[in-house]
């Protein structure tokens, strides 16, 4: 091999390496951008499918109780009475009150849910379990923390409790999927108790106050050793 060939070969290799170093980060950014655009278009399509529930003037006007934050710095909810025409159908009624809850109170400081969050769908199972499917903004725009996430769930559960007696418990989905936590803290793998009336017992963790007496330190019987964890992917 002549010196000229060697120089040409080394030069070609250097150019290839430099080109790869420049091109690969650009390629990665493009792939990420394409994935994000696809996600946004799916979200937009779902929003279009989930038509907002129009308030039917023919529905009887009732005084609905909506639960927003009691104080800007407090972590409890308080009822606000709003007169609304609400459907007698429990699914439509649930959508109407949740959409009003998402719209927020007059004082925006008392919001419990992000303003850009959308209720995509609501289903009611025969056992009284309501499935509330929210857009991803509920998880991504809510202030992170145990207090703020519990406040959001409390406002949803208490509002349904006060206005839709058929809903016994509520399961929250994000973009049609079950997620482990709302924003890193609050457990969304189970359903939250809404109405404590006669209904089948929930099979998952609930958000009601503990029934165990504070002074009771020893359970009635010991369950023994800990089972193996079921790892989620």
């Amino acid at each position: 091999m002549t010196a000229r060939w060697k120089i040409l070969l080394i030069g070609g290799l250097v150019i290839a390496v430099v080109a790869a170093a420049i091109y690969f980060p650009v390629l990665r950014r493009r792939v990420k951008l394409a994935a994000k655009l696809q996600q946004q278009s799916e979200e937009q399509a779902r929003r279009e499918l989930a038509q907002p529930i129009a308030i039917n003037p023919g529905d009887p006007r009732v005084k609905a109780k909506l639960f927003w934050a009691s104080d800007a710095l407090d972590s409890t909810v308080a009822p606000a009475v709003v007169e609304l025409p609400l459907s007698n159908d429990p699914v439509l009624r649930s959508k109407q009150v949740l959409n009003t809850l998402l719209a927020g109170p007059v004082d925006t400081e008392l919001r419990t849910l992000p303003p850009d969050a959308v209720l995509l769908a609501f289903y009611l199972l025969p056992d009284g379990t309501g499935i509330a499917d929210f857009s991803e903004a509920l998880a991504t725009s809510i202030p992170s923390g145990i207090a703020s996430e519990q406040l959001a769930v409390d406002s949803i559960a208490r509002t349904l409790e006060a206005n839709v007696t058929q809903v016994q418990r509520v399961k929250i989905l994000i973009h049609g999927q079950e997620v482990e936590t709302l924003a890193g803290h609050l457990d969304l793998t189970g359903a939250f108790v809404v109405n404590t009336g006669p209904a089948p017992s929930p099979s998952k963790p609930a958000s009601s106050a503990p029934t165990t007496a504070p002074g009771m330190l020893t359970p009635e019987k010991s369950p023994g050793k800990l089972a193996q964890p079921e790892r989620k992917p």
Binding site: L9, F24, S144, P205, P210, L217, P223, G224
Partner: protein
């Protein structure tokens, strides 16, 4: 003639070899560049048993040596009764937790806070296990496993909120869980906290009482919430959340750290006589 052929072969073979090696080198270099760029974006995801040295963040007033903490799975208590506290600085790695407008990151502050809490607990005679000692992000189950592997332990997960009255602190215990089905004598991992709810409530009230004495405006008793981290922990378990990352100056949070540490340590010491430790790690008392 033969000599001429050999000369030709000798010339052609090195050209091909050089070209082949050159192509392989280019491919390997390209792959290395891609791999390094990917690893630079992704934070390390390691379990709680990773004993990477602690990285004391800049400005930490009391950053202790990392050797003081014990491996989550190595501590084996020799005494009966409560003697281990598992400290869980929440979040870490790519998960920064709550973020304030002033650049305050929950994951960094709780890691610094854990150093002070650990010292306060050790002064009370407790052995301390940390679920993470650096900028790692163990899974919820890995953090719970650090407590479930111990005998005679309590679990404290530490958080900074985004909201709430600044300068206050709240203790949370897990909400009610369905009764544990024990047909085969095992506690389901997904409901490991169920048998400990009463103990957690007792422990939480004691710590909250200490916090309320130091931070006015804090609640009088522990509150309930469906905290994911607590549900799979088979030990008396509480979450301590401090308000908040919304403060203008992080020095406000730093000033709270000694009081938080002292309150947790005194709360654990007050809880110690109440806790009857099970004979098996992870078992109910």
């Amino acid at each position: 003639m033969l000599l001429e052929v050999r000369n030709i072969v000798r010339i052609r073979v090195p050209i091909r070899t050089y070209f082949l090696f050159g192509m392989i080198a280019a491919i390997l270099t390209g792959a290395a560049i891609v791999y390094s760029s990917q690893t630079a974006v992704q934070a390390p995801q390691s379990g709680p048993n990773t004993q990477s040295p602690a990285t004391p963040p800049a400005g930490s007033p009391q950053s202790g040596p990392p050797e003081a903490a014990t491996s989550p799975f190595s501590a084996q208590p020799q005494r009966s009764g409560l003697n281990i506290v598992v400290l869980d600085p929440a979040h870490g790695g790519v998960d920064t937790g709550a973020r304030g407008t002033g650049g305050i990151r929950e994951s960094e502050i709780v890691l610094e806070l854990a150093v002070q809490v650990r010292r306060a607990l050790e002064l009370q005679g407790f052995q301390v296990v940390q679920t993470r000692q650096g900028n790692e992000n163990p899974s919820f189950d890995d953090r719970s496993a650090a407590a479930n592997a111990q005998r005679g332990a309590v679990f404290v997960t530490m958080h900074i909120s985004s909201t709430g009255l600044p300068g206050t602190a709240r203790v949370y215990v897990n909400s009610d869980l369905p009764p544990v089905a024990d047909s085969n004598g095992l506690i389901p991992w997904e409901q490991a906290q169920a048998p400990f709810l009463g103990l957690s409530r007792k422990f939480g009230d004691l710590v909250q009482g200490q916090l309320t004495q130091r931070f006015k405006g804090s609640p009088d008793g522990a509150q309930t919430a469906s905290v994911r981290q607590l549900r799979t922990t088979a030990a008396p378990a509480i979450a301590v959340e401090i308000s908040s990352v919304a403060v203008e100056n992080r020095a406000e949070l730093d000033r709270m750290a000694p009081g938080i540490a002292d309150a947790i340590a005194r709360g654990a010491a007050a809880f110690k006589p109440s806790y009857v430790v099970a004979s098996t790690p992870g078992a109910a008392p």
